[in-house]
Structures are given as C-alpha cells and as structure tokens.
C-alpha cells in the first residue's frame, strides 16, 4: 500500500474501532487511536504475514504488548483478512473470541496473550533469539505503551536484547504521554526515553507515530543497525484523530455517548473526504 492508501486504511480502522467501542459500551479508545497508524503500517506494508498461513514458521512476529488496545488489533487483523470483519461486532460479548485482551489460541494472527503489562518485550526477545539461533531472517516487532515502560520486566528484556545483539528486533514505544489515571510526567516520569535506551546499547530513533510517512520510513528493513536492537520512540497522541479525545487523559477507557459518537465519527469521515 502507498502512503495515501495506508492513511485511508488507518482512518477506516479508527472508524470501525470507534463504532465497536460505542456498541460494546467498553474499550480502550484513547490508546487504540494512538496506536492505529503504527498497526496499519505494520500489517499493510511492513510485516511479512499471511492470513492464509498465520503460523508460517518464517513469518514476521508482531506483539501488541499493550494488550488493552486489543480492539485496534482485531480490527486491523480483520481488514488484513485474518478474521471475518463481521466478527468485530461480537467484541466483548459472551463467548466471543474477541476478549478485551488478545488470545493467540483463539484469534489467528495473535502471537501471545498479552494484557498484563511488561510481558511482550521479553517474549519478543525470545522470538528474535530463536530466529538468530535458526539463522532465519524473519523480524520481530513489539509495541509497548509508554506507561508500560514503568514495568521492570521491560528493562530486564532491554538488557538481554542488547547483550544478545538482536538487530532483528524492533521495539516501538507508543509514546502518548498519558497513562490510565494521569500524565506520565505526573506519575512516574520515565521520559525522555531515547537516552535511556541508548545507554542500554540500543539504536534509537524518534518519530511522529501518527505520521504514516515517518512510520514507514522508520520501519523500513534498511534501517537495521548491525548488532543492535532498535527502538522507535513513536510520539503519538492518545485519542488521535478525534479532537475532544486527543491528548485528554479522560479518554483512556471512557465510552462516548451518542452525541460524542456522532461528532467523533463525523470528524473521522471528514478527515478522509
């Protein structure tokens, strides 16, 4: 997909996500809107994955470590052909495969069951190490939230990835500056992130994580730094694309009322017209 098509796809995903949150009466809409552009670029341009063969041993691995944004992943997977788009309407319903956090044993394309924070990156380190041991060239990409980087397990994994020289591993930090209850800066301010990752031996790049051109450029395979794992600090806005949600801590998992839903949908429709 070219950049324009990717932008349209991201907008489609945002609209479907918004509708599903409204209809289910639950979801983590703020973090879903911040990560949607990253997911879109990954699934429609970067990752070598095949919905017809979702467990191909040579596939690229992707982990959404911020598993509470599962709905954005489900919508993306449905657009990419891993699950039936109609199934999105079952989100959170009894016995739906589409739980509030992704389950690899139920949803094709999901690699590990995330939800508790600080789990995805260690698993990604193991995946990248497996590829190295096998002499395979598939990549591993993991997205964490920025608040999630407060979990100590991430820093255990960051040390190991550098020690193992995992240049086939890319960590994307969805840096929207907000966590569930407050701003990062008012909670446990781990920003600035780049010097910390660099100090641990990683190659770091900062981008606008809601800008499709910057995302695609940063994720290009040519950006590999031999011997070093890569971290992309993606500066994003929580609630991106919807004016009254954007950068607003109230919208971590708030559900829009009918008027808010109408306005939000109108804004998203306007953005692609």
């Amino acid at each position: 997909m070219d950049i324009l098509e990717l932008k349209k796809m991201a907008n489609d995903i945002r609209q479907r996500d918004l509708r599903a949150v409204f209809e289910a009466g639950a979801g983590h809409i703020g973090g879903e809107m911040s990560v949607t552009d990253l997911l879109t670029a990954l699934y429609f341009r970067i990752l070598n994955v095949d919905p017809k063969n979702p467990t191909d041993p040579k596939r690229d691995r992707f982990i959404l470590s911020k598993g509470h944004a599962a709905l954005a992943l489900y919508v993306t997977l449905s657009k990419r052909g891993f699950i039936d788009p109609e199934e999105i309407s079952t989100f959170l319903k009894p016995h739906s495969r589409l739980n509030g956090h992704p389950n690899r044993n139920k949803v094709p394309g999901v690699e590990t069951n995330t939800g508790p924070l600080g789990h995805g990156l260690p698993i990604a380190v193991g995946m990248a190490k497996a590829a190295k041991l096998s002499g395979d060239t598939w990549r591993t990409v993991v997205i964490t939230g920025d608040g999630e980087m407060q979990e100590g397990s991430n820093w255990e994994a960051i040390m190991a990835a550098a020690q193992f020289g995992l240049d086939n591993l890319t960590l994307i930090i969805d840096h929207n500056r907000l966590q569930q209850g407050a701003r990062l800066a008012d909670t446990n301010n781990i920003a600035p992130l780049p010097p910390k990752l660099e100090a641990f031996g990683w190659a770091v790049e900062e981008i606008n994580g809601n800008d499709m051109e910057e995302i695609c450029a940063a994720l290009d395979a040519s950006k590999v730094v031999p011997g070093k794992p890569r971290c992309i600090v993606a500066h994003t806005n929580k609630g991106n694309g919807i004016s009254f949600m954007s950068d607003n801590v109230a919208w971590h998992h708030k559900v829009p009322d009918a008027d808010q839903y109408k306005q939000a949908m109108a804004e998203l429709e306007e953005a692609v017209s």
Partner: protein, 319 residues
C-alpha cells in the same frame, strides 16, 4: 527394595542434564534458558557442548520466562531452568500469561526445589510452588522421586508439546524405580503393595515413605506406597483405589501442607471415598534453620515419624 539405606545416592540434577544433553545432540531445537544459574542448574556440560544454545538472561526471572515463551513461539523447545523458588515465585504472572494461558511449549525446570537450600532459609525454599502453579490451568506438575524418573520425565517433556513444570531436587536419593521405567503423566506408581494404609509421596519423600512402609511391615502392618510424581493432573483412580482398598491415606511432601500433594489427594478423597487422612509437610510456617533432611525429620517425615503417623491414622479407620 531392601537395603535402601546402603544404596547409592544420586543427584537428580545430573539425570536432568545428562538427558537434556543427550536429546540436544539429535534435536537442534532444544535450548536451555537460565538466570545466571549455569552451575546450580548443572548446565556446564550443556554449555560446553552447545554454547550457542545456552541462553543465559542474567538474574532476571521475569524476562527468563518471557524469553522462553518467545523461543517456543520461534520453534525452539526451551528448558527454562532456575532455582525453583525464583523460577516460580518471581515470575508467576509470566508462567500464567506467557506459558499457561498462551499455551506455549515451555519446559519449566525448578532446580533445588523444596528445602534443598536448607540453612539458607525460607527465602530460598520452594515450598509453595505446587500450590502456586497448581492454581493455574494448563501446566502439568511433576516431582520425580529418583534419577530414573527424572530422566524419564525430562524425555517426556521434550517429546510432548505444551507447558510442563518439572520440580527437581538436589538432595541425593537412591533409585527406586526400575531402569526401564516409562514415565506416564498423571499416573502414580505403586512402590509397595499394601492393604492397611496408603502412604502417598513424591520427590525426595518417596524413599522415606518406602522406608516407613518397611518399618510398618516389621510390625505386621501392610502399607501401600504410591509414588505420585504428577501433582497435576492428579491420579484420581489411584487415590480412589487407595481409599477404597486400604481405608486410610497419609501424604507427605517437601512443601507446605496447604495446596500441594496432600491437598490434591484430599480433594479427591473427600469427594469420592471419604476416609481418614493425615497430611504431612511444612506445617504452614517459615521454617527454622536447618538442612532439608533435618527439617523433614523435624516435621515428622523421618521414616520413623511417618510410620508413627500411619499407626495413629490407622486407629481412626472405621471398624
């Protein structure tokens, strides 16, 4: 089975690593993951033979389990080794989410389990791990009784897809099982037939149970001894048979009496064939200073103590 006291003692860690090294020679996907515990997990031989396949993450147990899950996703068969107390307690959520719930092909190997670290104290004891892991679905728990069962269980783990928790000791134990023993998950082994009472044990307690049965036999009491290495899934049939046929069950384990082998047996007994039971183990305290052997004796699990408890238990049987 006689002369157990004079039998050669084996460190089950050796059986583990010898089996692992042997399988790794023919199966390139087998890897060992550890948390700086190369020596205490007896992985030096593995490291010499397959240096690239020893993944040492440093002192970082949460990452260790996650890395194991990732390696499994990438097609490897990771044996994730560490002191049982840290492997389970420090990384229980990773065991739950990354291994059990995600159903990854991770082999958790708890080394020096129970009270093997003796005088180092309760921080280093792993006497809650049966209970912790048993509460999580999808992880079989196996505590082998000797080097033969250890080797067989390690081979089983490698050949079977899915999670497993192998709980190994470092205490020397004699071989109780025949050399051609084939491990079956969830299947207890009758070490001694008996009709008056059943002693159920696993790990390093099984040999003590056999010795206790010999003491009881000398007094004319016929005690059955079951080696119940698999704590989950528990062998319901063997428990029901023991309750029906012997009318009293004594359990002993190198674990708190809350939530481990004894609890697992009791859950079956109370719902099927209720009979008098005694559960021996760590009695829900932080233990005093002492070696594992001293502490087991202290908690009534010397062969003489087990025999005495069995005799008391028999008195409670219905006429």
């Amino acid at each position: 089975m006689s002369n157990l006291s004079e039998a050669k003692l084996h460190d089950c860690r050796d059986a583990f690593t010898q089996t692992l090294e042997g399988m790794a020679a023919t199966n390139q996907e087998i890897v060992a993951v550890c948390n700086d515990s190369v020596g205490s997990s007896k992985l030096n031989g593995f490291k010499d033979k397959y240096p690239e396949r020893l993944v040492n993450v440093g002192i970082a147990e949460q990452n260790m389990i996650g890395v194991g899950a990732g390696l499994a996703n990438g097609g490897k068969i990771p044996f994730v080794c560490g002191a049982a107390c840290f492997l389970t307690g420090r990384a229980l959520e990773q065991i739950k989410a990354d291994v059990a719930y995600s159903n990854t092909n991770v082999k958790l190997v708890g080394i020096s389990s129970g009270m093997a670290y003796g005088p180092l104290g309760p921080t280093h004891h792993s006497t809650e791990d049966f209970a912790w892991v048993r509460a999580i679905p999808n992880v079989p728990i196996v505590a082998p009784c000797d080097s033969i069962e250890t080797a067989a269980a390690v081979a089983y783990a490698a050949e079977t897809t899915g999670p497993i928790f192998l709980r190994l000791s470092r205490e020397g134990v004699p071989d109780l099982l025949p050399a051609d023993y084939k491990f079956e998950l969830g299947k207890a082994v009758t070490l001694k037939e008996g009709s008056d009472v059943t002693l159920i044990a696993n790990g390093i307690l099984s040999v003590r149970a056999v010795k206790a049965a010999e003491l009881l036999a000398a007094e004319g009491i016929s005690a059955r001894v079951l080696n119940m290495a698999t704590v989950r899934p528990i062998d319901r049939d063997a428990i029901i048979a023991a309750a029906s046929e012997t009318g009293a069950i004594l359990t002993c384990e190198e674990h708190t009496i809350f939530g481990g082998l004894g609890s697992s047996v009791a859950e079956v007994v109370v719902e099927t064939v209720p009979v008098p039971m005694t559960r021996l183990g760590v009695p829900g305290i932080f233990v005093p200073t002492g070696t594992a052997s001293f502490l087991l004796d202290e908690f009534g699990m010397a062969p003489e103590g087990l025999a005495a408890s069995a005799k008391e238990l028999i008195k409670k049987k219905k006429a």
